[in-house]
């Protein structure tokens, strides 16, 4: 959101764990998943929101089709190499803070598909917070993973997120505005280049530091 960056800069010492716990409680109580149902694990993911399993008990039932409205991406199923750039783009479109659950053996390690077509683990593309084993995992295991992620969220601090590089902040576009496109040759040249999928998200930078 950016508010916590301002607070952390203005009040570096005053910021207490009380505010952390309030923000983290708000975040963990409504983790909205972006569905990335890719294979049979998606059936179990759908079932986990059904009346029998009822993921809504843990505030995580609002599956969003738009990544702009999602907090956690549940990668359920095998990721093919052709889908990998698409998955990374969806992940890049999710606003911070964001988390990833790798659901099932295929998303975690490639599973039985040890071949040229399948990415051997979605953690080669996006950072993963919780891995779920199973082929496919039962809905209870997905609910358990959501609860583990909630525990992880509660351990975070807003100070961890004060990691925006200066150049990124300077070039940030205010919401509601579009970048100027005059169709110049330089712009066309820039657009002709392949999209850089390797820009590290803040999620990743936080993990590596």
């Amino acid at each position: 959101m950016g508010l916590e960056n301002i607070i952390a800069e203005a009040l570096p010492e005053v910021l207490t764990t009380q505010l952390d716990s309030l923000i983290n409680w708000a975040r963990k109580s409504s983790l909205w998943p972006a569905t990335f149902g890719l294979a049979c694990c998606a059936i179990e993911m759908m079932n986990s929101t059904s009346s029998r399993n009822d993921l809504a008990r843990f505030g995580s039932e609002v599956f969003r089709a738009s990544p702009r409205q999602a907090d956690v991406m549940i990668v359920s199923g095998r990721v093919s190499r052709k889908m990998a750039p698409v998955l990374r783009r969806i992940y890049d479109q999710m606003p911070e803070p964001k988390w990833v659950i790798s659901m099932g053996a295929c998303a975690t390690s490639g599973g039985v598909f040890d071949n040229y077509a399948i990415v051997q683990g979605v953690d080669k593309i996006v950072p993963v917070d919780v891995y779920i084993p199973g082929c496919p995992p039962r809905p209870e295991m997905l609910i358990h993973a959501v609860m583990m992620l909630q525990e992880k969220v509660m351990k975070e601090s807003v100070r961890d997120r004060k990691d925006v590089p200066e150049e990124e902040a300077r070039e940030a576009v205010p919401p509601g505005t579009l970048p100027v496109t005059d169709g110049s040759a330089a712009l066309k040249e820039a657009l002709a280049e392949p999209r850089p999928y390797t820009i590290a998200s803040r999620h990743e930078r936080r993990r590596s530091s």
């Binding site: 190499r81 040229y116 990415v119 390797t198």
Partner: protein
């Protein structure tokens, strides 16, 4: 049900006698013997091996001739016999007639050095994507194809995945470039 009538001889499946070519092949052999390099009859399916330079003419003849009327191209598939074989590649055309209800398979064999085949998109438009798939997975070039791009594998893929000498796990582990 115990007293089943003994009219088992009315077998609906016509079984051609061994050695006798099917009427389709006989008609084609009478008209254009140079199109037929070899005839294979197996499992009541007929396969004709056609020389590469005659494949378009043979296809358009089989489509338009009133006796054959192969108006539906079910599939084009490639096959790799292995890098040690010569000819190495096959391209199989599976034809079906929706009016006559008969099937035929045409086969073109290709060497590895010259894996080119004329396109049949002018005969059946559905050949467009079938030929792209065969090109994508086997590397067979279809000369004259309007849009010979990859169709299944990613655009920046190296190699052709269904060749026998393609490594199972690909040439390099996946990474975001």
């Amino acid at each position: 049900m115990a007293s089943e009538p003994e009219n088992k001889e009315t077998n609906p499946l016509p079984t051609p006698e061994a050695g006798a070519p099917s009427p389709l092949v006989a008609a084609l052999q009478r008209e254009h013997p140079e199109w037929i390099a070899e005839v294979i009859e197996a499992f009541s399916e007929t396969t004709i091996v056609v020389p590469r330079e005659h494949i378009v003419a043979a296809c358009s003849f089989l489509k338009t001739s009133p006796e054959t009327r192969f108006d539906f191209l079910s599939d084009i598939c490639g096959a790799d016999r292995g890098p040690e074989e010569d000819p190495r590649f096959e391209v199989n055309y599976h034809l079906f007639s929706t009016t006559k209800h008969h099937r035929l398979r045409l086969k073109v064999v290709l060497s590895e050095e010259d894996a080119h085949v004329p396109t049949v998109t002018g005969v059946w438009r559905t050949a467009n994507w079938h030929e792209r798939e065969t090109f994508d997975l086997f590397g067979v070039i279809f000369d004259g194809h309007p849009d010979l791009r990859r169709i299944l594998l990613p655009d920046d893929w190296q190699g052709h995945a269904l060749r026998k000498d393609f490594p199972l796990r690909g040439y390099e582990p996946y990474s975001l470039k």
